[in-house]
């Protein structure tokens, strides 16, 4: 579903944020991307979703090149950033309608999915309120609904559990499992290693822009905890 080959991203400051990164995420995978602060996680993710350009390498999503066919890649990918910054001057429902309209969702299907996910994340009562009055967690839930209602093939998430209350975090894990069970793929960065260990089937550890370990959770963790593996590699 997602193939990253020899990806290199150098910022104008000269910093090599991502250095020859290779990753493969298959349909049905929940792939954790972990690493210390400033390791290159968010830079890699932003290259995948089209926010950043990159200097060399290739990224393909479902066989489409991000560089050559970015529109098709964006049609099948939904992104959730680490900070759910969305338009504060409109209501939650207006935001969802905007995303549905811009991505040409079927209105009936959109309504079904908004109803479903708004109920799941208990945001249905707040959809008529301006986003400016939402808490961080509510904005995060709104962005999650907007991503899942698009029924993408690939979900790319940057720190998706930050700001969610325990119940919403539990729901999130269930929804992620359901999503991959239906043939989707998830690639997400996180610092919450115990959740990653239980939820993900694959993991990659990045440090200084380079992948220092990757594989299935069983291959990486072996008989140790993911936290121990991570700290040993540090």
């Amino acid at each position: 579903m997602l193939k990253v080959q020899n990806l290199t991203k150098v910022y104008s400051s000269g910093k090599r944020a991502v250095d020859d990164v290779n990753l493969t995420v298959e349909a049905g995978d929940i792939y954790a991307f972990i690493g210390p602060n400033g390791a290159g996680k968010t830079s890699t993710i932003k290259c995948i979703v089209g926010i950043h350009g990159f200097d060399s390498g290739e990224i393909t999503i479902d066989g489409n090149s991000v560089k050559e066919n970015s529109r098709r890649c964006k049609e099948i990918t939904a992104f959730i950033p680490d900070n759910p910054d969305v338009y504060t001057s409109i209501t939650g429902m207006q935001y969802l309608n905007f995303i549905a309209s811009i991505t040409k969702l079927n209105p009936t299907r959109k309504a079904e999915l908004v109803e479903k996910y708004a109920k799941v994340w208990e945001l249905d009562h707040a959809l008529g309120m301006p986003i400016g009055s939402y808490s961080h967690g509510m904005r995060q839930k709104l962005v999650l609904i907007s991503a899942f209602m698009r029924e993408p093939k690939l979900l790319v998430l940057d720190e998706p559990f930050v700001g969610l209350d325990p119940k919403a975090a539990f729901t999130m894990k269930e929804v992620m499992k359901e999503f991959v069970a239906n043939g989707g793929a998830i690639f997400y960065s996180t610092h919450v290693l115990d959740i990653a260990e239980k939820l993900c089937n694959k993991v990659a550890i990045i440090k200084g822009g380079k992948i220092i370990a990757d594989g299935t959770m069983a291959e990486i963790a072996k008989d140790k905890s993911l936290e121990k593996v991570f700290l040993d590699l540090e």
Binding site: S12, S13, G14, K46, V49, G50, I51, H52, G53, R71, R72, K74, E75, T77, F79, P81, N83, D85, V86, Y87, S89, I90, T91, M93, Q94, N97, F98, I99, A100, S101, I102, T103, K104, L105, P107, T108, K110, A111, V114, E115, A118, H125, A126, L127, G128, M129, P130, G132, S133
Partner: protein
């Protein structure tokens, strides 16, 4: 005082840091922004000096040198107050408000340090007019140390008036409308009405003053009334009483404004009331209409955006009504044209005025910046960049063109002007709206400002907005002055201006749709 100085230093450190810590291309872009603004600023001052010098050569030898200084003072005051009202934020919370309020600093010190950027903005606007008029006066009348030093003092204290009005209006708009469901719209309307009222009072006073010379001072009435007489007394004779009055009317309102603003600083606006939602409602409207719809929401919710986008076209609308009550000669008189010359000069003058009013909006230059930290939404959606950019230009065009049509048709009906003249006053502002929209979005892509603390920074105090407004202020009258200098006649001038604006509009569309697309794709958020 100590906290105020620390906060002020922090403000400068942030401004300087954003320049120094940028590397390579970005630092180059910041330096080029400073250079472009500097060149446009100097060009505008040169244009004003040329115009003021032309007037000084007529008035100074005839013994009316005070007219030149008085014009400079009044234009500087009106322009600075006008621009200060355009940046009324309506109590929008700045991003670091919580952090500052959690520190042991008084609200007054925070507000005072924040007012410095407004002071510098007003200072620049006042310099644009005070500098050229004083220079032109002294070029003709000879150097005067009294006028020179008095002008320097005025340059330092007059911005206080603009800052005070900004702070007081900001406080009033927050206090009056804070609890209303339509608070943002009401605030915008309040500020717009206030601005128009101030301009109305100015024009009324200008045209209803008894201009017979005062027996004591010998000055004509409009130079002998407050505040012009006081400013002239100070400038010509360094009158200490006048100086004390000037200090009183500038510093006291500033202290009041800072105090009032500190009462509302950082207070969270009440949460919006929840409206019933129909999840099943909503249709697919396509990318352009969807983005346009979101931009319209932003426009309605932001007093600073609404004031900046709406003021010019609202003045056009008022003009559309006024033409039914005012004769062509009266309006020509407002524009400084004698009744005998009205018929001859009105076509070109009206084309310029309509174009200037449409060009007042700096909204397009903030269309990308206003995405702010939510810029990732547009970047990750499956939409062609071309469609995004067209949507971003559309808002200004759609909000200007209907008012242009109304004004042109009203003038046609009320004054019975010829069809070619009607076409000229219809087409010229439409081309300016197109040119201003496409160039504005392009400039915003050259100098995007996505990390702002308050919307007003993106709308009015950004490089792109400053460059766009300076371009409009320079290009439109410069074309007019050039054509008057080569003396091709008013109707030909009007039509050459239409052609010139059409060519510039076509150039702007091409620029945005080629290089602008590449710039958009390159913008990334860290």
């Amino acid at each position: 005082m100590r906290n105020f100085l620390i906060l002020t230093k922090n403000q400068f450190d942030r401004a300087l840091g954003s320049l120094l810590w940028k590397k390579d291309k970005k630092r180059g872009s910041a330096m080029s922004a400073i250079l472009v603004i500097g060149v446009l600023f100097a060009a505008f001052m040169a244009l004003m000096t040329f115009q003021a010098h032309h007037a000084a050569e007529l008035f100074v030898p005839a013994g009316f040198g005070d007219m030149i200084l008085a014009n400079g003072y009044m234009l500087a005051l009106v322009a600075s107050i006008f621009t200060s009202l355009q940046v009324v934020s309506g109590g929008k919370r700045v991003l670091d408000a919580d952090m500052l309020l959690a520190l042991p600093i008084s609200r007054f010190a925070i507000v005072a340090s924040r007012a410095i950027s407004r002071y510098l903005f007003a200072f620049a606007v006042i310099l644009l007019f005070l500098g050229p008029y004083t220079a032109a006066y002294m070029m003709v009348a000879g150097f005067s140390a009294t006028v020179f030093f008095a002008t320097l003092i005025l340059l330092l204290v007059l911005p206080f008036i603009a800052v005070s009005i900004n702070l007081i209006v900001d406080f009033l708009s927050v206090t009056f409308f804070r609890n209303s469901s339509f608070s943002n719209i009401l605030r915008s309307v309040f500020v717009i009405i206030l601005t128009l009222a101030l301009l109305g009072v100015y024009f009324f006073a200008l045209n209803n003053t008894n201009n017979a010379p005062d027996p004591d001072t010998g000055r004509p009435g409009h130079l002998d009334s407050f505040p012009v007489a006081m400013l002239l007394d100070f400038a010509r004779a360094f009158d200490i009483t006048a100086l004390l009055i000037i200090l009183a009317v500038t510093v006291l309102p500033l202290i009041l404004g800072l105090y009032l603003n500190s009462l509302t600083y950082g207070k969270q606006n009440p949460s919006g009331r929840a409206h019933k939602v129909d999840i099943r409602a909503g249709e697919n409207r396509g990318a352009i209409r969807s983005i346009l719809s979101i931009d319209t929401q932003k426009y309605i919710q932001s007093p600073a955006y609404m004031i900046n986008s709406f003021l010019g076209v609202l003045m056009l609308f008022i003009f559309s009504i006024a033409v039914f009550f005012l004769s062509m000669e009266t309006v020509a008189g407002f524009l400084g044209i004698g009744a005998d010359d009205a018929e001859q000069f009105a076509p070109a003058m009206l084309v310029m005025v309509f174009a200037m009013l449409v060009g007042l909006s700096s909204g397009p230059a903030a269309a990308i910046s206003l995405e702010g930290k939510s810029f990732w939404v547009l970047k990750t959606m499956p939409v062609d960049t071309r469609q995004i950019l067209i949507a971003k230009t559309m808002f200004n065009i759609i909000s200007s063109v209907p008012f242009v049509i109304i004004a042109a048709v009203a003038t046609w009906i009320a004054w019975g002007i010829s069809f070619p003249w009607f076409l000229a006053i219809l087409l010229a502002p439409i081309f300016v709206a197109i040119f201003s929209s496409f160039l504005g979005v392009y400039l915003n892509l050259v100098w995007p400002k996505l990390n702002w603390d308050s919307e007003a920074q993106a709308i009015r105090n950004s490089t792109a907005a400053l460059v766009l407004v300076l371009c409009n202020m320079l290009l439109i009258p410069a074309l007019f002055v050039l054509l008057l200098v080569i003396n091709v006649g008013a109707t030909a001038t009007a039509w050459i201006m239409v052609g010139g604006f059409a060519a510039i509009a076509a150039g702007s569309v091409t620029l945005l749709m080629t290089h602008g697309i590449k710039l958009f794709d390159k913008i990334s958020i860290r």
